[in-house]
Symmetry: C2
Subunit: 80 residues, 2 copies
Amino acid sequence: MKAKVHVTLKSGVLDPQGKAVGHALTALGFDGVLGVRQGKYIELDIAETDPVKAKPLVEDMCRKLLANTVIENFAIDLEG
Amino acid sequence: MKAKVHVTLKSGVLDPQGKAVGHALTALGFDGVLGVRQGKYIELDIAETDPVKAKPLVEDMCRKLLANTVIENFAIDLEG
């Protein structure tokens, strides 16, 4: 099944990459950009087909590798 | 309003970053990882409040800066 993982910086954590994107958009003439936060989006294709087992498995992957839980949150969507 | 943008590599485009994540997960003992694709997730806070105007505005941002449309697709969700 497919697992879609969003990894985002916790609120309060500085996001220089997002800031840079915001400045670049303003420089390109896009006014009215109030804020930009950039995160990661990871699509996993896993052999496990039972959502009940897949959820904790992917959570474990997030904690061990995909997200730095000190500064990042993660959200998991399972599909099919 | 908020715009959530997903930028993903087009299918067929090699994703060495995703491959590296897949290998790392396997090395950590996660069997059954069949594939990993990594993309970007960008949250924009824009002054425009009309979804009808915001959609093409954000599409324009994607084409001009956020996505490389030669190798990447983008998807936009508007909120609030």
